[in-house]
Amino acid sequence: MPRKSAIPALVVALVVALVALHAVLLFAGFFAPYDPAVQDRDLPYAPPTRVHFIDASGFHLRPFVYAWTSAVQGDDAETYKEDRSRSYPIHFFVSGPSYRLIGLFATDRHLFGVAQPAKIFLFGSDGFGRDEFSRILFGGQISVAAGLAATLIALLAGTVLGIIAGYCGRWVDESLMGVTELFLSLPWLYFLLGVRAFLPLHLSTLRTFFLLTGVIGLIGWARPARLVRGIVLSARNRNYVLAARGFGGSHLYLLRRHILPETFGLLLTQAALLVPRYIAAEVTLSFFGLGVNEPTPSWGNMLSTLQQYSVLVSYGWLLAPAGALVVTSVLYGYLADLFHSRLKSS
């Protein structure tokens, strides 16, 4: 007798973490102290700002930072030293650079910030003195949105075509499955590059975004289509579907009431699997310079500066976008595992 399963604490934590992640990215403007495009030519490659609670006068409840000053203008790496002459407390809900929340509401409130001329670079700054933390948040918007959108496209196309193949059967099925086999016979990255190759290289950010999601979704429909087709094929021949046909059920009715619900479990699992993969696809393309281009941040093009060994070695904090990507992927991966085990047990 199926009973209501208690939702374990770990699952709750997972869902909360995922929701929090997406919320932070959605409201990037609020959580980011700075505009991602603003450069500070005096502070290129600044290391992460250290947050202090204790100074000469003892413990403070409100954390504070010191400003960075260049110590040695070396030919290799800039070295910075904290200027301890003045401390800058971190204020919350400060007013800072104005922006549009979710692109709609103009405001200038930020979660935290420090007074000028100090900068709070939580993850340091890049070669142009832009705040890495802010760029990660805004870059995440693009990368994660691309992953989500591409997943939607791939699953939509895959489901529709899988249903057509599985339901119509015979030559429709065979030809569609032949096409999917074609798509699956190429290693995905080669395929991605190939398709990307024939499309315009330099477009506006918005167009690039749509292009990327379209391309990734375009080659990603094949596997979901095969899986959905398998389910539809077996469901179509079930006796209860036959019985409903015996009552005069139309094809649309049969699909809606009996066949489609069988695919939901699979689609959910596939979604949780594909989102991180497609985020990684966008990141890879942007890393290669085939995706979102400067100055718009994306986790991919932020990581591409690391292709220079000098940068890689000296400025380790620039690996932060990789960390953000890993966190996102691991969370989604855990979700996918969860869905999959629930699907298997039902």
Binding site: L186, L193, H202, T284, A322, H340
Partner: protein, 333 residues
């Protein structure tokens, strides 16, 4: 015998289909292939027009495809503008390096994963098993690009491995043995990245498959006879558990080829990857198409070998393609 012939015919058809797909994609561009060049003031419109005729881009799609197909079947895949030389030898020299990388990674992956998976399954719930499960779950989630960059960072930072390229500057002057050592030392980093990524996937599957076999009735019966653990594992469990694992070979290859592209670019290994990337960025049409076709060829051949291996091991597999595929829904792009 007819099975092999059928598979060969299918593979040929597949490659044919891929080539058509490639050419269809060239029609996809909302503008023409050389639109970007038009924006560049240094390139004159005459040059662009010449390029177009040179590539036959002013011809209709069918004519272009026919010309390409005819020459491709003779082994000539066109000319590269960037290198100003035929595509085929360019691809081939790079392909050898990619094959070296990929095959090494494939072999090592399976040599490591199978025993590891079997061991983890046989000591289910133990500390090592849990460690392996956790580690593989984590590694699977990490995108391959991140893995590559992270390992590169570690290698560069601590200077423990040779990074960049395939050979050192003084390669030519080395002895035969030293040459081999040199290549191997450069091979270590990219192979490590690939193996790490792929092992996580394979170990999981091997472990699951062995666990499932261990539950099966005939294994329980065998245990009832008092067979030793090792004998049980190797003579009874492994042959059966091997099947679903080996059916992964094809997907494993797909993942490795894609992964190798990334790894080659990041580590500077002179394989197909960086070549195709470069060709894409410089709009080198026939080089891109040639590269894609070659990768498809590798995939198809690899799958063929895997299928033949599989059918040699177990003739039942030939009928069970759909079932194996459902289980693979979790893996591969």
């Amino acid at each position: 015998m007819s099975f092999i012939v059928r598979r060969l015919a299918r593979s040929a058809l597949l490659l044919f289909g891929v080539s058509i797909l490639c050419f269809l994609f060239t029609e996809m561009a909302p503008g023409s292939f050389f639109d970007e060049m038009r924006l560049n003031p240094q390139i004159s419109p005459e040059t662009i027009a010449n390029l177009r005729t040179h590539y036959g881009l002013d011809q209709p799609l069918v004519v272009r495809y026919e010309r390409w197909l005819k020459s491709a079947l003779r082994g000539d895949l066109g000319i590269s503008i960037a290198y100003n030389s035929p595509v085929t030898p360019l691809l081939w020299s790079r392909a050898k390096n990619t094959l070296l990388l990929t095959t090494t990674a494939l072999l090592l992956t399976w040599i490591i994963s199978v025993p590891l998976g079997v061991w983890a399954a046989s000591r289910r719930g133990g500390l090592l098993d849990r460690l392996i499960t956790l580690a593989s779950a984590f590694l699977i989630s990490v995108p391959e690009l991140v893995l590559a960059v992270a390992l590169l960072a570690v290698a560069v930072r601590w200077g423990i491995l040779r990074t960049g390229g395939m050979i050192s500057a003084d390669f030519e002057s080395l002895s035969m043995w030293a040459k081999l050592q040199d290549v191997i030392s450069h091979l270590v980093l990219p192979v490590c990245i690939l193996v790490l990524a792929e092992t996580a996937v394979i170990v999981r599957h091997v472990r699951a498959s062995v666990l499932e076999t261990l539950q099966s009735p005939y294994v329980q019966a065998a245990r009832g006879f008092g067979i030793s653990r090792t004998r049980l594992l190797f003579r009874h469990v492994l042959p059966v558990a091997a099947n679903p694992a080996i059916s992964l070979l094809g997907f494993s290859l797909a993942g490795l080829l894609s992964g190798s592209l990334m790894v080659e670019v990041v580590c500077g290994w002179p394989g197909l990857g960086p070549l195709i990337l470069e060709a894409t960025l410089s709009r080198d049409l026939y080089l891109v198409i040639g590269g894609i076709m070659l990768s498809a060829l590798f995939m198809v051949m690899g799958n063929l070998v895997a299928d033949m291996l599989l059918s040699a091991l177990d003739p039942r597999i030939r009928g069970n393609e759909d079932k194996a595929e459902a289980e693979q829904g979790l893996h591969a792009a």
